[in-house]
Amino acid sequence: MAETVLSSGEKIFILHGIDADFRNDGRRRCEYRSMEIETKLMPQTHGSARLHIGNTDILVGIKVELDIPHADKPNEGKLEFFVDCSATATPAFEGKGGDDLATEISNVLIAAYQTRNAFDLKTLCILPHKKCWKIYVDVLILQCGGNLFDAVGIAVKAALNSTEIPKITAATLDGGEPDIELSDDCIQLDTSNYPIIITLCKIGDNYIVDPTLEEEVCSTSSIVMSVLPNGKISSVVKLGCGSIQFNTFTKMLQMGEIIGLKLNKTLMDVLKEENQFGRQRRIFGFLK
């Protein structure tokens, strides 16, 4: 991934293709590659999802633990994102090599889920000051084929959608010590307003979605925004070393919102469809 080096000829070819609204793989500017999503594929986690788009491969595992709330936010639970860039993606990620990228991705995730409009941490609280749920969202990047942010965003949302938290039947304070009873039933998270992340990549005078690795190399700046299903934007950040005109910026923002809403709807439909297969559904994992 870090090894993608393009000659100026290749770059110009890609640029012209995008100008003509016909990209190297035949897509239009605002078209996504086809994605494959599978959820609940790891029994040892509370929720999991695997996303495969182009050459990008993301695995998300969610684990839920009981914890004590932060003292300054006594009635909120905790949500923690951890991104691990596995060396299987590229030898450059060996050891601590992927840490920079991982921090960047987890920062975007944190920003996207920060507003209460998207994720209400209060629902994770069990007993104020004493007990709350802590949700670990662990993202494992197995292969990088461009457009990591979008892929991670979708995979995280799908995994959270599949997450089942044990239901709490009784939570009492017993002499200052919290006492909690769990049942076998599970409750699901309210994913109705979880954001997804859209990257708009500016190449030449145009902007595209879902760039491949080669297209990412051609771009000097891109905008990563997280769109909530109700049309709000929960985070925007510009990446890359280039700058953007004000007008282009607003146009990109509007485009991102439209795409985000569409993508979100499609994703939710697909997840619902998958859910209808029920528990007997065959799990493919990596064997497909």
Binding site: M1, M42, A87, P91, L140, L287, K288
Partner: protein, 273 residues
């Protein structure tokens, strides 16, 4: 800790219904990833391992400089466990860098150095990256198997399959009966069995093609757990080599199937001509 009573029932079957010398279901996929030079995915029961191979390429960074030997290639391994991989419920803090992972990386490296024809690749490096997605016992051995497959997928010349297998001797005070099959060690233990008080012997061997001759060379062997009287060691070793033979047969079949699939188009081409 799991109750010892649960470990086996009266019929001499293990908790997951296997016999002593029975392996878990092994499922294999080679060439999972497009970008890597070679990759393989293996499932041994619930243990799921993903391995990618990059190289041979120019040595990079500290590994290239520190090794003074330039007549042979360098093997670089990294063993990493996904933070959510543990079956026991808790979450791992760091995916890699702890002593256990580093030891695994080293042992994997040594095992792979033993099978790769490194003398063909002087001044170059081969990277092997292991990612354990789910861990349910015998994960080191499964990763050796997966690494072998990934090397085959990458087209790197190897001498033989390196096959890993574990044998676990469950120390059970209630089990006085020497003849009991389980009393002599069970193959390919899962996490529950590994946690019982007993000894687990992990062996990486290069099994021979024909099982009639020698059992094969042992490349890496390590024991973990409690004590084992030396008199029992030989029988354990025999068992584990038997297990290696079995796994080899399975992997060999998988490789053949994969390669046939890969070469089908060209076979058609030949047929057409």
């Amino acid at each position: 800790m799991i109750e010892v009573e649960n470990i086996e029932d009266q019929n001499g079957l293990r908790p997951d219904g296997r016999r002593a010398l029975e392996l878990r279901q092994i499922r294999v996929k080679m060439g999972v990833f497009g970008q890597a030079d070679g990759s393989a995915y293996i499932e041994q029961g619930n243990t799921k391992i993903l391995v990618t191979v990059y190289g041979p390429h120019q040595p990079r960074g500290s590994t290239g400089r520190s090794t003074s030997n330039i007549t042979k290639g360098i093997v670089n391994c990294q063993y990493s466990m996904a933070v959510f991989s543990l079956s026991s419920g808790e979450r791992k803090r760091k995916p890699r860098g702890d002593r256990k992972s580093q030891e695994r990386s080293l042992q994997l490296k040594h095992a792979m150095e033993a099978i790769i024809h490194l003398e063909i690749y002087p001044r170059s490096q081969i990277d092997i990256y292991v990612e354990a997605l789910q861990v349910d016992g015998s994960e080191y051995c499964a990763s050796v198997n997966a690494a072998t497959l990934a090397l085959i997928d990458a087209g790197i010349p190897i001498k033989n399959y390196a096959i890993g297998c574990t044998v676990t001797l469950i120390n059970n005070p209630s089990l006085e009966d020497e003849d009991n099959a389980l009393g002599k060690g069970v193959l390919d233990a899962n996490y529950v069995e590994e946690c019982t008080p007993g000894v687990t012997l992990s062996v990486v061997a290069l099994p021979n093609n024909d099982s009639t001759s020698k059992d094969g060379l042992i490349v890496v062997a390590q024991g973990a757990g409690q004590r084992l009287h030396l008199s029992q060691f030989e029988s354990l070793k025999a068992r584990v080599l038997y297990g290696c033979q079995d796994i080899r047969t399975i992997l060999d079949y998988a490789v053949r199937e994969y390669l046939t699939e890969q070469s089908l188009p060209s076979l058609f081409h030949v047929a057409l001509n």
